[in-house]
């Protein structure tokens, strides 16, 4: 296998030809922050958080999509790199609702963690009107909630829905500030062939795609003296419960009171 040697942050490293700068840095334990990148699934150079300085290059390069070259000299944490990343983050945040406290992803959000790591103190360019409003929240699905206000357009969900699930019921629509990740023809998730697998919510770095939170319903069931509560982890909860109650394997358990969740406010 042909290899290439280069220098990253003053450390010499030899990697396989065709590797990216991101992969090479990882090999020597240098962590380059990323947002849109997902190994083997999404390498599109969209967010520009992973930029690094390559000696002799005209502009900063996105490490996740830039292949290494022989003799390359890379700096992953220079002043220019830090300034650029911070500006990128600030611009992303300028069109982001600042409601971390009440967000389902609070303390478990990549955007929040990066902002903290980079000590983003000030967001100087808050837009007078954000691109999307609460009216754009899609809570039609019994399983998944889409909140376009919080979307940073990394397209990780789009990639996973297409390449891992083979569904591709969501994609990027419109352009500029109006860009939104959604099903086609302004449909809601419940109108299209979404499999409700939850892969998109799993990879979303922010709170833009999350699972429906039914904790309140569980509490109400627990508090109901006339109810016997059974716990079963997904997948195929209904089939498992039906089997437990002696029905034909494969039967979908359905209580007489069951109906799809009404839209939440």
């Amino acid at each position: 296998m042909a290899t290439v040697s280069l220098t990253i942050d003053n450390v010499k490293v030899e990697v396989e030809q065709g590797s990216t700068i991101l992969e090479a840095a990882k090999q020597i334990g240098v962590n380059i922050p990323t947002l849109c990148y997902m190994k083997d699934i999404n390498a599109i150079g969209a967010c520009r958080i992973c930029v690094v300085e390559v000696q002799g290059a005209r502009a900063l390069q996105a490490a996740c999509v830039s292949p290494v070259a022989e003799g390359m000299v890379v700096k992953t944490n220079s002043a220019a790199v830090r300034a650029s990343r911070k500006m990128t983050l600030e611009l992303i945040q300028s069109n982001h609702p600042q409601e971390c406290n009440t967000c389902q992803r609070n303390t478990n959000c990549e955007l929040q963690a990066l902002s903290e790591a980079m000590a983003l103190g000030d967001i100087r360019f808050v837009r007078p009107a954000q691109s999307h409003s609460k009216d754009d929240i899609d809570n039609s699905s019994p399983s998944i909630v889409r909140d376009p206000r919080k979307c940073i357009l990394c397209r990780r969900c789009v990639a996973v829905c297409e390449k891992v699930q083979g569904v591709k019921c969501i994609s990027t629509m419109n352009r500029g500030f109006e860009t939104v990740v959604a099903p086609p023809f302004n449909q809601s998730l419940n109108d299209v062939n979404c499999a409700m697998c939850g892969q998109c919510s799993l990879v979303c770095p922010t709170g833009a795609i999350v699972e429906v939170d039914d904790t309140g319903k569980v509490w109400r069931a627990l508090d109901d003296a006339n109810k016997h509560v059974v716990v079963q982890t997904a997948p195929a909860v209904r089939v498992a419960i039906a089997e437990e109650f002696g029905m034909e394997p494969g039967t979908l358990a359905q209580a007489s009171w069951w109906q799809p969740s009404p839209p939440r406010l």
Partner: protein, 159 residues
């Protein structure tokens, strides 16, 4: 069938040929969509669904492309295409007043088409004719140094 045929059948046939030619070829997407836009004046939903099926492209991607490029339109366009420049020069020379008058006369907001499909009104950015700002074009015909009092006379020329 007694129904009046509104489509342009000749062009419809050439679309069929194009579909056949691009069967299973996702790379033909833009070409096929441009041909639909050309023949129908917009991208009807049925055609987009057919495009997705024939070319083997997810419908979400087809719709994404349709909403990305300004050259594509998802609603029928008017017979006359009215473009008002809102570039910097035109803006400072009074294009906003012209826009307000156009919208009032046509009874629509910019970016839309009148109910009778007589006009589509769009805003554009700098036509490269700043010396004659504010600039209005109707079907490509240029109206220089526009002012709001010229609006009704100009649109009356187009039926």
């Amino acid at each position: 069938m007694g129904a009046e045929c509104k489509c342009n059948c000749e062009q419809d046939k050439s679309l069929d040929a194009l579909f056949a030619q691009n069967k299973g070829n996702p790379n033909g997407l833009i070409v096929v969509m441009a041909a639909i836009q050309e023949s129908q004046g917009y991208l009807p939903k049925d055609y987009l669904v057919k495009t997705a099926e024939e070319l083997g492209v997810p419908l979400s991607d087809v719709y994404g492309v349709a909403t990305f490029y300004a050259a594509f339109s998802l609603r029928p366009r008017g017979r006359h295409s009215v473009n008002l420049c809102l570039g910097t020069a035109c803006y400072v020379k009074g294009a906003p007043e012209v826009q307000a008058m156009l919208e009032k006369e046509m009874g629509i907001k910019a970016g839309n088409t009148t109910e009778d499909r007589r006009f589509s009104l769009d805003l554009v950015r700098c036509l490269g004719a700043c010396g004659i700002a504010p600039v209005l074009t109707v079907n490509g015909e240029v109206y220089p140094r526009m002012s709001s009092d010229k609006v009704s006379e100009i649109i009356a020329k187009y039926e």
